[in-house]
């Protein structure tokens, strides 16, 4: 085969493989392939990834937290004016919310909105400095774009659903799925103990790992940039475009938290710090010139340790209510 025709054939094959495929499966019962099973291959209806009986379903409450994939329905038995459902996944997940069926009165003031992040007491996670989208784009209103764009994806492992239903009998159903995120950036930890490695591969962005507990953080390895720049370490973290900071505070917004430590240069070997705040955040700022990586572990601070910390410190940076 000549060179050019081989090249054309390869190009043709490449284009054909770029077509996306849909998975289908036959429902075989009692080890017999029924005619319905075979015909279902030809029908245009595609089955979901999980068979129907494996999909988790339950009713939603006005205030709810969901960490399991499945189909969730909220039915208003009386007017519900301020409801919120929190979604959370593993650190390496992103959240996909799909509107399955929505029976609300948009013109009557009902709404169902998805927020890309969490809002608590007016504070948003991720903060506006850490999130790639502007604030108004993080809200996705069903009444505006829900019909044309029924699937909403978050940028991190947390998302929220706000809804208001005036009439009893209104309802909606959403399907919550978790998708894999190869480079998780902003994370809320589900547990007070664990470990994580955050990698920012040559991107100009800031990433926060939020642990909503008072913890002791042990940083095992920090790799900032390709080489250790002596000039950079003399200037301190303020002059550096790549650094890691430990923040502590009592809210969700990382821009309103207090810096506990700054790390500007790479090191190997554990460095630990106790942060006695309600929210502890490991935040990495990256200029985009290098691949930055930080590995850390964290464990919950016991009650005695917290009391000891209160006794030792002169000023209490994290004020408690």
């Amino acid at each position: 085969m000549s060179g050019t025709s081989r090249a054309q054939l390869c190009f043709l094959l490449l284009s054909v493989t770029a077509l996306r495929g849909h998975a289908r499966f036959l429902d075989i019962q009692d080890n017999e392939i029924s005619p319905e099973g075979l015909l279902s291959l030809l029908s245009s209806e595609l089955k979901r990834e999980l068979p129907e009986e494996f999909v988790y379903r339950r009713a939603l409450r006005c205030l709810d937290m969901v960490a399991v994939e499945g189909q969730f329905t909220f039915t208003a038995e009386r007017p519900q004016l301020n409801c919120a459902v929190f979604f959370i996944g593993e650190p390496s997940d992103i959240i996909s919310i799909e509107y399955d069926s929505v029976n609300i009165d948009c013109r009557g003031g009902d709404f169902v909105k998805v927020f890309d992040g969490w809002v608590m007491k007016g504070e948003k996670f991720p903060s506006t400095q850490d999130h790639p989208l502007p604030l108004y784009e993080r809200y996705s209103d069903y009444c505006e774009t829900g019909v044309t764009r029924p699937v909403v994806r978050s940028s991190q492992n947390v998302a929220m659903l706000f809804f208001r239903l005036h009439q009893s009998g209104s309802s909606f159903t959403v399907t919550f799925r978790k998708l894999i995120n190869p480079f998780p950036c902003n994370v809320v930890s589900q547990t007070p103990e664990g470990s994580f490695t955050m990698i920012i591969p040559q991107q100009h962005r800031n990433c926060s790992f939020s642990i909503i507990y008072p913890v002791e953080i042990q940083i095992g390895e920090l790799s900032l940039g390709q080489h250790n720049d002596l000039k950079r370490s003399i200037l301190g973290c303020a002059g550096s475009g790549d650094f890691v900071e430990l923040l502590g505070g009592n809210g969700m917004d990382t821009s309103k938290m207090f810096p506990m430590a700054d790390l500007c240069y790479s090191f190997n070997g554990p460095a630990q710090m106790k942060v006695g705040c309600d929210n502890t955040v490991v935040r990495m700022v990256s200029s985009g010139k290098f691949v930055n990586r930080v590995s850390f572990q964290y464990r919950l601070l016991g009650h005695q340790e917290l009391q000891q910390m209160k006794g030792n410190s002169v000023e209490d940076v994290c004020l408690r209510a």
Binding site: R58, M65, K121
Partner: protein
């Protein structure tokens, strides 16, 4: 390489790569299933406040419940008349898009942590059940 076969090749490639995607849709939507969990769903009412109060009374005791719970201030609902002119609707739509919606849940971290813990337990239980079902299917 002659131009005509090249054009034919490019045309066929472009046509074949223009396959419309069909969206996945579930067969039927059964809204309530029978796997209701007693712990999560045996409640007097589904109202957020009654749920929180019941949880707090059970776990923290009646004295602390009043102090820990922050009562959010709900904005009064706007009653819209049926004969509303378009300009007002457009203005409200526009403001909805550009302002923060006045909704924020006033939760303490303590409540948030407990909610996360309950959701994790639900997830682990469901994952264990799924694993058992998968193993049963494979074993047949």
């Amino acid at each position: 390489m002659k131009p005509v076969p090249l054009v034919l090749l490019i045309t066929s490639v472009l046509l074949t790569t223009h396959v419309p995607l069909s969206t996945c849709r579930p067969r039927d939507l059964s809204l309530i299933n029978n796997q209701l969990d007693d712990v999560l769903l045996n409640r007097a009412g589904e109202d957020a406040m009654s749920y929180l109060l019941q949880y707090l009374l059970r776990n923290l005791g009646a004295q602390k419940a009043g102090g820990v719970l922050h009562l959010p201030h709900f904005p009064t609902p706007q009653l819209r008349s049926p004969h509303e002119d378009n300009s007002l609707e457009e203005l409200t739509e526009f403001s909805k898009r550009n302002d923060d919606p006045p909704i924020s849940i006033d939760l303490t971290f303590h409540l948030l942590r407990n909610m996360i813990e309950m959701a994790r337990i639900e997830n682990q239980r469901e994952q264990a059940g799924l694993n058992r079902k998968y193993l049963d299917e494979v074993g047949k």
